[in-house]
């Protein structure tokens, strides 16, 4: 135990056994609003099939197109939030959309985070020409407007939910790589890493035991802030016609498809998914901000 670093940050990062506990504790301390929204959405998306009153992809029998919400004239209780331009139940689409949007948001972030963290660690720890190549590619991809890149990737692989996830991951990994690499560069010079190297630990082992646990905080914070960005990006891709393909009920797609109706007074087609997106992004952002303050990594430039 003599080599335990005095820095409390590192001590926390290394305290693996207490992680679950600390997660539970963290959730208790997290901003209530964010936890309620995110937790609620998770539940809704898990039990979407049970909760949703109708099939989200097919018109409701007996309903018209553009039925208003139940409290308005012409609205009905079977389709409480109204129907869309295909006569589909908006509530059911929102409920199933929670699943799609959460999967896209979380998985997209996970893909971006995994690629970016791996690249950042390799680049920062291995250094040399590997570092050069990874960083130059990162720079080049960062200089490519994200939306342009996403459109072309989407065009290349064709739209499907999983492809969108891969695309968003491929677009957003660069910011992780940059930040994580910077972190690794300072970690590399720390005594405990030096000690491990002197003790003859392999590079892989040093990465696994010493580097990875210590960049996880930063990666987590970055991830929490990326989820919202990814969800908005998904909506933007739908706007450009290369997002999650219809008839899947993704919120971004619902919003994008129905946007003309905003001008026609059929506000419920866009306002409900709009509010859902707003809530989830706001919640992840607040959560991410809180996490950042709590974990306090060097993530200023986000």
């Amino acid at each position: 135990m003599a080599t335990i670093p005095a820095d409390p940050r590192l001590a926390r990062g290394a305290a693996a056994p207490g992680r679950l506990q600390s997660v539970i504790k963290a959730v208790r301390e997290a901003p209530l609003l964010a936890v309620v929204i995110l937790g609620g959405l998770m539940l809704v998306s898990i039990f979407a099939d049970l909760i949703a009153p109708h099939d989200p992809t097919f018109p409701v029998q007996g309903a018209n197109v553009f039925d208003p919400p139940f409290w308005m004239e012409g609205g009905r209780a079977t389709t409480p939030l109204g129907t869309d331009f295909q006569g589909r139940d908006i509530l059911s689409r929102l409920i199933h959309g929670a699943r799609v949007s959460l999967i896209v948001g979380l998985m997209g972030t996970l893909v971006a985070g995994s690629i970016g963290t791996a690249m950042g660690i390799v680049s920062g720890y291995v250094g040399g020409w590997v570092d050069q190549i990874i960083m130059r590619v990162t720079d080049a991809w960062l200089a490519l407007p994200a939306i342009v890149f996403a459109i072309f990737l989407a065009a290349m692989v064709g739209p499907s939910m999983w492809n969108i996830i891969v695309i968003l991951g491929a677009v957003y990994w660069t910011r992780y790589a940059r930040v994580i690499r910077g972190e690794v560069l300072t970690l590399r010079e720390r005594e405990f890493v030096k000690l491990a190297e002197i003790a003859g630990a392999s590079k892989l082992r040093v990465i696994k035991k010493h580097i990875l646990p210590n960049v996880m905080n930063t990666a987590t914070v970055l991830a929490s802030l990326t989820v919202g960005v990814v969800i908005i990006a998904e909506a933007s891709l739908s706007f450009l016609g290369v997002g999650v393909p219809p008839p899947q009920p993704a919120w971004g797609l619902m919003l994008s498809e129905a946007r003309p109706t905003l001008m026609a007074g059929q506000w419920w087609l866009t306002v409900f998914p709009g509010i859902c997106i707003l809530l989830i992004v706001l919640a992840t952002q607040l959560f991410g901000d809180w996490l950042r303050v709590r974990l306090d990594p060097q993530t200023r430039n986000l």
Binding site: A155, L262, R300
Partner: protein, 306 residues
């Protein structure tokens, strides 16, 4: 120092090279501009004729070599659709995009910086949450929807502002808000953390220890220092807004570079897309280079870590 600058310049050139190759390949892999513009009455001969006219009948390496050769001469080829040199088109649209980018940057600063300062000075108070909420709102609404809601409210209902297009200052307001608000969140975050960092610094401590009033400490000592990174990011963001405000420019029919890119992409106007992306990349790489070098002048430690 000269060696450091030289190294950074070489990096930037390599980056631009990778960027050019990526975009060159990617546009060609994803569609055929000739097939797109052909309608029912087209015949294979017609398509071949256009391909030849546009130089698309040559092999990719040849096309790339020509493209790079011209790029070094400062020419980025001629747009298929507009029959104008891409550079000329780019600079035709640049004033509009700069106007929008500047206005949007201003709005992102106007929302993000005060919110960030409030949030840093009054950490964890109600004000902190309100300020954060306002700044994060822009990030939480897809730009196209925010844009349409603005049009609906301020043009159609209230009739205060024109719906779209470029003209006088009133045309700029809505697109700038819709665009700038998105970036307000990053301004908020950076202002907040930068402010917190500065407020925790020794010189602020010393300023307080001198017995200076809080207003003087925050407004004079902290503010100026905290805003250096904020303005740096604002500069980088502005380059992005000038070059890639695709969605906002489409919604508001703003005649800027973003729309040029949009039409270029969907019509597979290869030279146009390549050119705009390279110009944008060049600006981003250049501004990063300048920032890096300036920071290295201010803080020698940076030279060691990069």
């Amino acid at each position: 120092m000269p060696q450091f600058i030289l190294r950074r310049v070489v990096y930037s050139i390599v980056t631009l090279f990778i960027l050019s190759a990526t975009i060159f390949l990617v546009v060609r892999l994803t569609g055929d501009p000739v097939a797109l513009m052909a309608e029912a009455s087209a015949r294979p001969e017609d398509l071949d004729r256009i391909r030849q006219q546009w130089g698309l009948d040559r092999s990719w390496p040849v096309q790339y070599a020509t493209f790079m050769q011209n790029a070094f001469k400062g020419e980025l080829g001629k747009s298929f659709n507009y029959r104008l040199p891409v550079i000329e088109l780019y600079f035709q649209r640049l004033p509009n995009s700069l106007t929008l980018g500047l206005a949007a940057t201003l709005i992102s600063l106007l929302i993000g910086v005060p919110a960030g300062i409030i949030s840093a000075v009054k950490v964890n108070s109600g004000w902190d949450n309100v300020a954060k909420g306002v700044a994060l709102l822009g990030l939480s609404i897809p730009g196209f929807w925010l844009g349409l809601v603005l049009i609906l409210v301020f043009s159609v209902w209230l009739r205060w502002l024109p719906t779209s297009g470029a003209g006088d200052w009133r045309h700029v307001i809505m697109p700038a808000v819709a665009l700038g608000w998105y970036f307000a969140a990053s301004m908020l975050r950076l202002t907040r953390s930068s402010m917190l960092e500065v407020l925790g610094s020794e010189y602020i401590k010393l300023a307080r220890l001198k017995g200076l009033p809080d207003v003087v400490v925050i407004a004079m000592h902290a503010f100026k220092n905290a805003l250096i990174p904020v303005f740096t990011l604002a500069g980088v963001n502005m380059v992005v807004m000038v070059n890639a405000a695709v969605i906002i420019e489409v919604i508001f029919a703003w005649p800027g570079i973003g729309r040029l890119l949009y039409e270029g992409i969907f019509q597979r106007d290869f030279p146009l897309v390549q050119g705009v992306v390279i110009m944008a990349g060049f600006m981003i790489v250049a501004i990063n280079l300048v920032v890096d070098i300036l920071y290295a002048f201010i803080d020698p430690r940076i030279r060691l870590t990069r």
